[in-house]
Structure formats: C-alpha cells, structure tokens
Symmetry: C2
Subunit: 145 residues, 2 copies
Amino acid sequence: MPSPRPSSRKRPPDSAVHQRRTREQHAQERAQDYVEAIADLIAEHGEARATDLAKSLGVTHVTVIRTVQRLQREGLVKTQPYRSIFLTDSGRRLAMQAKARHDTVIAFLEAIGVSPKVARADAEGIEHHVSRETLAAFERFVAAQ
Amino acid sequence: MPSPRPSSRKRPPDSAVHQRRTREQHAQERAQDYVEAIADLIAEHGEARATDLAKSLGVTHVTVIRTVQRLQREGLVKTQPYRSIFLTDSGRRLAMQAKARHDTVIAFLEAIGVSPKVARADAEGIEHHVSRETLAAFERFVAAQ
DNA sequence: CCATATTTGTAGCATATGCTACATTTTTCC
DNA sequence: GGAAAAATGTAGCATATGCTACAAATATGG
C-alpha cells in the first residue's frame, strides 16, 4: 500500500513540477530583460550601447558585455567590438512578446487599484511568471473596466 | 540642459531600480521556497528530510544539502548530519509569510477566473514579486467576490 | 545479525551573473 | 592634432545553484 510520503510516488509532485517551471522561467528572464532594454534604447535613442544598457539594468558594463556575448551566441543579438548592439529577428520578436506581457501586467495591476509606480516595479518580476491563461484573464479584466 | 540619455542622469533610471529590486527578490526566493517546503513537510509528515525536500523541489539531494547548509548559516534552519531538518523561529516566520503570500496569490488568480491548476503554477513565481500594496489589492479583490 | 536498500555527504564539474581592477579603443573637446 | 574623458574588453574574483559519481552512514527486512 502506497505510503503518503512523496518519495513513494512515481510521478513528481506538482510542487516539483512548478518549481522546475519557475527555474526555467528564471533562465529565460535575463534574456527577455536584455532584449526588452535593448529595444527600448533603440526606440528612444536609435542605438543601444553597453554603457546605456548597464545604466538601464543597474549593473556594470562588464556584466552587460558578458551577457550580450551570451545572447549573441543564442542568436538574439548581433554586435561587434566597439559597436552598437542590434537585435536579430528572434531577439526583436522576443522583445515584443516580453514588452506586450510587461504592458499587460502593468495595465492589469493599475486596473485593480495598484499605483502606477508600484505596478511598474512589480510587473518587472511578475511578467516572467504569468502563463497564457493568466495573461488572458488579465486582459479580460482590463477590457471589462 | 539635461540630455535625454540615461547616462547623463544623476539618479538611476526607474528601470535600473526595478531591475535591482527584482534581483534582490530572486536572491530571497530560494530561501523562501525552501523554508516553505520544509514547513509543509513537517506539517504533513512530522519531519523534513533531504530526500523528501529534493522531491518536493525537483532537484537532487546534493542541491538540497548544499542549500540547507546555506540556510543554516543564515539562521533559518537547524540540522545536524544524518538528522531531520528543523526551522528556526526566523525560518518559521519566513515560511509563514511566504505561505500567506502564496495562498493570497492563488486565491486572487482563481477569483479572476484562472483555473486552480494554473493558479498554483503561476503563483510559484508571482508570489516573490508582489509588493505589500499589490498584495493588499489582491486581498481586497478576493474579499469583494 | 547481516545483506541490501536508502539516505546523506563530499568532490568536482557546469552555467549564470554580479563585481573590481586594469588595459585598450574610441570619442570628445580644446 | 593631441590630451582627456568615456566606453569597451579582459582577467579574475565572488556566490548561487544545478548536476554526476562515488563513498559513508543509516534504515530496513529477512
């Protein structure tokens, strides 16, 4: 007869599945933040430089350079030494998706009465953890206001 | 006259402040997940063992052992070699706070029409990024249903 | 009581991401 | 045109957190 202990289950408990999913979301999070920040800088200034990205993201230029190199390996950005940073088609798509999610979360939080300032701050983290279903519920709610 | 470039500002841009806050939240996230999982195991089985934590969290027992050692250094848990894992008063308080936030986020998502299954999955990540103000808005919304 | 199974612990590997220090390159300004 | 400032790049440090492999300790069952 099966013991109530999680260790006796064949199927991982939901908590493990959820935790793993959250970690996978974290693994994508940095890339999304970077491509979104790059897209913002390009839209606002025509170009994205490491020094500006560093300021937007609150890290040193070293961290930016390292991470941009990784994103280039992953095909999300394109850059050359001492040149601006550009988004690839993949990177642009990811940036648009991330921004859309970001904006939806902000709109939703404001719709339930959260101040714009706090909504923007909280959205930064929340945006990476909302599933399609939750996002759709947020959109329905905002549309119904 | 101030330049529009972020690099000319004396005050870091909001984006940098938000990003930094999100990273700080991530730094706390693992500790909260662990103490919450430990509290759950103790409540359900009377004790928390590394092997059970590993299954709950979806990682190997090695990762659990390492992280529990860190949490012990941080005063959140107490354990000895080959013994069960216990929460300190600090750890217990953190677990309760984390669980309360977790439960509020789930209740709220369900209240806006998200299925329980998806609500639980999304709450896992969202719970770490909601400020007090946002949580209060969630609670008001749930109470008004 | 002992063999086997399970759990725990260590070693050493990996990636990610943060930093300081310093060197090199580019840009700016006089 | 050249000095100074700013930006970029590398080296090497750090922590966190994931893993496999293997060894040691404990628990279980016959």
